[in-house]
């Protein structure tokens, strides 16, 4: 925190936001000093994104008072707030897919000459500098649609920094980043602090909060709970204030008798994404964890197995039978569920209700007398939604209107609803709060107990070590290491990272 002043950079008082059927914020308070990192915490749907969207000028329909540098203001539009010195990295990516990285960063603010012609070189150079400053080698002339989710996140960050604001809001900036990129971001944050820039930091990763935060504000169910210096709050205090109860067993374990090999892959090669000679298996009654740094090829491997992309050679066996999966439809019919990495573009039909999104994987089960039984659909899906505690006034709510974490829960419900027996979860807990994570780990456990095979692809080491019975590590498109029954005990952060950084 800046020593020179105790004056607020920002004060927000009695902020209230309503949506039909939802009181998203109820007289919430938030304030910022210059040069501090202020963590905003709370469960999925607590209202974190909502209050920051109000501040960023995205949602004009808020009640309450915003005082910026001592002056009361009305946050009317995002452009206006940018000019005032407030910028935001959105939780859900907001880039234009058909434009380049540089064009996205400077969208609407292209540098021009006196004739009004766009100075492309200057724009690209400025973009390059920004990208370098956050330590990424994404090309400034690449199209957004060709980037991975993580790379898009880096572009969002570069964009937010390009405004040279006094306050930068970061809504779950690291949820799609690799460790290296996360470290780079932390360095950037450190530099911003030195320039007296204030940072609002939203994250469900409590380790990051430990590392970064000066102060912490907690919201629960749209209500203000507290603001405290980080030193005054233990991890337990944090969790119990967020969740409203204590969590003692974060990674619940169950012992399940291991069954047959459900999925076996032999010598799979895919030129396009550089997958080389991949062989592995996943057994029923076990959770098989896949770890790797970004670009290691985990997602690409899973996509190929499920039928989303073609592979060049190799054999895939499902329950011992050699199969030739050519499309996602084949993959699903073979009993594979594939929870994709990006919920917004690959997981959900945002205009569909929660219920319709869940049904889509298993409509046949709802058909009687040649028609979809709408009543049964409602009951069945309501059950799933309650089980995963999706926060919503009704299952008829459009998924567009859900908070990020709740959208993720709907994607999980959708695949639980399918008749699958091999579950591939690519980053299942991305954006999910601490309480709900434990809930999801128990769901994975019950899938195991019911005799399914579960594959969890994760970038979080504690999660990998917490849930897996069998671990594969990937690097550069190859399997670089394995921990099976005999060696699982030797798996720890260090040994896993050694494999993950193996060079080929």
């Amino acid at each position: 925190m800046s020593k020179k002043s105790k004056e607020y950079l920002l004060e927000m008082n009695d902020i209230t936001v309503r949506f039909p059927g939802v009181l998203a914020l109820d007289k919430v308070h938030f304030d910022m000093y210059p040069g501090e990192v202020h963590a905003l915490l709370g469960e999925n749907g607590a209202g974190k994104s909502t209050i920051m969207k109000a501040l960023a000028g995205v949602n004009r329909h808020y009640e309450g008072e915003i005082i910026w540098k001592g002056e009361p203001i009305k946050a009317e539009s995002i452009v206006e707030q940018n000019e005032r010195g407030i910028s935001i990295i959105f939780q859900e990516m907001n880039l234009l897919p058909n434009l380049t990285v540089a064009e996205n960063i400077f969208f609407g603010r292209h540098p021009t000459d006196s004739m009004g012609m766009v100075l492309w070189d200057k724009m690209n150079n400025d973009a390059r500098e920004l990208l370098d400053s956050i330590g990424t080698n994404i090309r400034e002339d690449a199209l957004i649609k060709d980037l991975t989710v993580g790379a898009m996140q880096m572009v969002e960050i570069a964009k937010a920094l390009s405004f040279e604001s006094d306050l930068v809001i970061m809504d779950e900036p690291t949820s799609a980043l690799t460790n290296k990129e996360t470290e780079n971001l932390f360095e950037v944050i450190e530099k911003l602090k030195q320039r007296d820039v204030g940072i609002v930091y939203i994250s469900h990763r409590l380790e990051e909060i430990d590392l970064l935060a000066d102060r912490i504000t907690i919201l629960r169910d749209g209500k203000y709970i507290l603001t405290e210096k980080k030193e005054n709050l233990s991890r337990e205090d944090l969790i119990s204030n967020m969740v409203g109860r204590e969590i003692d067993d974060f990674y619940p374990r169950v012992e399940v008798e291991v069954g047959d090999i459900a999925l076996k892959v032999e010598n799979l090669n895919q030129e396009l994404n550089g997958l080389k000679d991949i062989s592995f298996f996943a057994r029923a009654g076990e959770t098989t964890g896949f770890y790797g740094l970004m670009g290691a090829g985990r997602t690409e491997l899973m996509r190929a197995i499920y039928g989303a992309d073609h592979y060049d050679s190799g054999d895939v066996y499902i329950w011992g039978e050699k199969t030739n999966i050519k499309s996602c439809e084949d993959g699903k019919n073979k009993g594979i569920a594939f929870l994709t990495e990006d919920r917004k573009t690959q997981g959900l039909i945002l205009d569909f209700s929660i219920s319709e999104n869940i049904s889509i994987t298993n409509i046949d089960a709802l058909i009687s007398n040649f028609k979809i039984n709408l009543k049964e659909e409602k009951e069945r899906n309501q059950e799933l939604v309650s089980k995963l505690q999706v926060k919503t006034p009704s299952i008829q709510q459009k998924t567009l209107n859900l908070s990020g974490g709740n959208q993720q829960k709907v994607v999980i419900c959708k695949w639980l609803n399918s008749d699958s027996n091999i579950f591939i979860f690519d980053e299942p807990t991305r954006g999910i709060d601490v309480g709900a994570k434990t809930e999801i780990y128990s769901i994975i456990n019950s899938l195991k107990e019911e005799g399914n095979a579960v594959i969890v692809v994760t970038s979080e080491l504690p999660e990998l070590l917490g849930v897996s019975d069998h671990i594969y590590v990937m690097s550069n498109g190859r399997i670089s290491g394995e921990f099976d029954n005999d060696t699982l005990a030797t798996a720890n952060q260090k040994s896993v990272m050694r494999y993950a950084t193996k060079e080929y």
């Binding site: 997981g347 889509i360 058909i367 709510q397 459009k398 399918s418």
Partner: protein, 317 residues
């Protein structure tokens, strides 16, 4: 917006426009608001509405079909050639002309899903091909002289009543389509594909198959439209159906279907079709030339699309 799916926004606003139009015209011209005139208007709606019904399915997927007007002409000419010129039985003519229309749709669908052509381009090409074939086969002439039993479809009443057969056919088709779109897997999948094609594919939906089906239905409905039209006029013309695709697309958009796909309803399109016909009717009564009418209809489409894009923009907030 917390929406109840059953009454979607599109439906409601188009219904309001329709009621407003009826009240307005009823006040200006008392003869307008009579049962006879209602039947009269519905009779004029049938062609546009049945055509729009098929196009609507394509629009739900996020695509567009501008070939339907020309397909109406082609399948009409096929019917005329077979029944009038070759003297084959009526049912042979009906089946073959429907098959031709269906084939045009399948062709569109395959080009768009398998060969990844832009829907606008693929169906523009089909429009030109179908029209060209119709003109060539007919040799520029109209083909008249069909059996009474067939003309009944376009001109007769359900026996013992004053209800025209074509209206019954139209309403039956709408009920069937409503059922399919709301209660069948097909309907769900079509909306899903329009909402998010990639997510649909990753959910295990065979997107290509359903897109081909959508265009096929659009083609087939153009065939049905053609039957009604020929029966109404007792003639098949190579220039029939000119620019009908405009009215069909306009009906969908006015009825609340989004050109981005994934949104809209079958009944909305019905209302949209009625609105289009009433506007045309009104313009006729006011003595406005058909050239200027084109301008007005264009303007109405523009407004409807603007309203749609406004709705979408609001949603992104």
């Amino acid at each position: 917006m917390a929406t109840k799916k059953k009454i979607n926004f599109g439906d409601k606003s188009s219904l309001i426009v329709l009621i407003a139009l009826i009240i307005l015209l009823g006040l200006l011209e008392p003869a307008f608001a009579t049962v006879n005139n209602a039947i009269n208007i519905l009779q004029q709606v049938t062609v546009v509405a049945i055509l729009a019904l098929g196009v609507n399915i394509v629009i739900f997927t996020g695509g567009i079909d501008i070939s339907v007007g020309a397909v109406v002409a082609l399948s009409g000419i096929v019917l005329g050639k077979i029944v009038v010129d070759a003297g084959l039985p009526m049912f042979v003519g009906i089946v073959l002309s429907l098959l031709v229309a269906l084939f045009c749709g399948v062709f569109n669908g395959v080009m768009i899903s398998k060969f990844k052509l832009q829907p606008m381009i693929a169906t523009l090409a089909m429009q030109s091909m179908a029209r060209g074939l119709a003109l060539t086969i007919a040799g520029g002439k109209t083909i008249s002289g069909y059996p009474e039993s067939f003309l009944y479809l376009g001109q007769g009443n359900v026996f013992g009543t004053k209800i025209p057969v074509q209206i019954v056919l139209m309403i039956a088709l709408f009920i069937i389509f409503h059922f399919i779109m709301r209660y069948r897997k097909f309907g769900r999948y079509i909306y899903a594909i329009g909402g998010n094609e990639e997510a649909s594919r990753l959910s295990g939906i065979n997107v290509d198959r359903y897109k081909i089906l959508a265009y096929s239905i659009s083609g087939l409905m153009a065939g049905v439209t053609s039957l009604v039209l020929v029966a109404k006029l007792n003639s098949a013309q190579p220039v029939a159906g000119l620019e009908y695709e405009m009215d069909a697309i306009a009906s969908c958009v006015i009825g609340g279907s989004s050109l981005l796909g994934g949104q809209g309803s079958v009944w909305g399109t019905f209302i949209g079709a009625i609105i289009i016909v009433i506007i045309r009717n009104g313009l006729n009564l006011m003595g406005i030339s058909s050239n200027l009418q084109k301008f007005v209809i264009g303007l109405v489409i523009l407004l409807a699309v603007l309203a749609d894009s406004f709705r979408n923009r609001k949603k992104l907030q």
